[in-house]
């Protein structure tokens, strides 16, 4: 027994336990590690979901922008066509056939057989092409022959209205000038 005792090593004295205040630190450490693992997983999942939602919204935005660009292109195209139509309408309204008017005037004179046309001038100005300036010179000195012509203009299919009419008698001739506007174009 003595031999065994002598063979024993000297054992260092065991360190005294931590104070009560410091004992909480290892516990806090384990809680922190567990919390860290939990929150990291939670935040990562949430962050990925947010990223996916953001990407989805960005895709939707890109699609919408593409649609807006297409609509805008169609809008501009339509607006261009409307402008063209407007120009065309203006042009066509100021381009009513002159031949029909000249024929109406001539036929009204020929019908009476009492007079004849010495000259007839029908003209338009670029500023107001829907107005037709008429300058008519009839042979003979009786201005009454004009009445048939004026009636024909007023009651004919195009129903011209006369503005600023002027009559004058020349040497064996009757001069008449007026501005004619078709009934349908008075609103212009």
């Amino acid at each position: 027994m003595l031999v065994c005792h002598d063979l024993k090593f000297e054992i260092d004295p065991v360190a005294p336990p931590l104070s009560n205040g410091l004992r909480v630190i290892p516990v806090l450490f384990y809680v922190a590690v567990a919390g860290c693992a939990f929150f990291t997983a939670y935040f990562m999942i949430q962050k990925n979901a947010s990223e996916r939602a953001r990407l989805a919204q960005e895709r939707v935005t890109a699609e919408e922008k593409k649609k807006i660009a297409q609509i805008q292109m169609k809008y501009n195209e339509l607006e261009g066509d409307v402008k063209k139509a407007s120009s065309m309408i203006d042009w066509v309204k100021g381009s009513s056939p002159i031949q029909r008017l000249a024929m109406t005037i001539n036929n009204s004179i020929v019908k009476t057989g009492e007079s004849s046309i010495r000259s007839l001038k029908l003209s338009r100005t670029p500023e107001s092409p829907w107005q037709i300036k008429m300058a008519l010179t009839l042979n003979g000195s009786d201005a009454e022959y004009l009445n048939d012509t004026l009636d024909a203009l007023a009651t004919g299919p195009e129903k011209y209205k006369r503005f600023n009419p002027q009559r004058s008698l020349g040497e064996n001739s009757v001069n008449y000038t007026a501005t004619l506007i078709r009934h349908t174009e008075q609103g212009l």
């Binding site: 360190a15 931590l18 410091l22 630190i25 290892p26 450490f29 922190a32 590690v33 919390g35 860290c36 929150f39 990291t40 935040f43 949430q46 962050k47 947010s50 990223e51 939602a53 953001r54 919204q57 960005e58 939707v60 935005t61 919408e64 649609k67 807006i68 609509i71 805008q72 169609k74 809008y75 339509l78 261009g80 066509d81 409307v82 402008k83 063209k84 139509a85 120009s87 065309m88 309408i89 203006d90 042009w91 066509v92 381009s95 056939p97 002159i98 031949q99 029909r100 000249a102 024929m103 001539n106 046309i117 010495r118 000259s119 007839l120 001038k121 029908l122 003209s123 338009r124 670029p126």
Partner: protein, 186 residues
Amino acid sequence: MKEKQLACIVLGMAIFACFFGIMKMQTKLQDARKRADSAKTTSENTNRQRVVSSANFADLQRKSEAEIAYYELWKPEFGQFPTGERVTDFVLKHMKEKGVDPFSQGMNPVAYKDKHGIISKLQRVNLTCVGDYDTVFNWLGDLEVEIATSRVTSCEVTKAQGEADIRMVLTIDVPVMNEDESEATS
């Protein structure tokens, strides 16, 4: 004792690092949520813009229905003469076909400006025709029908000398519209 205290300090630092890491992660999550919210708001705004654009387009379509029908109807007529030479050739050929001889003629391009700048060029045709009443007037009537866009800006009819019935001095403007040019203009 000292070693245990040191270990506590190390553990304390590790706890702080965990806390700091969690805070950092939370900030990143908040940023990601903000970006997602911002993307959603942008998407909603864009959607509203698209709805407004569609409504505006539908409105314009509805309001311009008559003009567009008019445009479709008259487009071929206005596109009939892409160059002034075509107008000249057509008028001369038409006169020949109808048996009207031009006493004198002059054709020249003229600049024109409408309110939208769509019609920018005209071919001006100056003609003096001498002939019998029916032939000349029928020719003019046919010409106004066949070139539906023609505008007679001046027509002077007088008694002709000699055998012919009448002498007609005409100025006709025909819009020259090149589709490519008008597209670029509009």
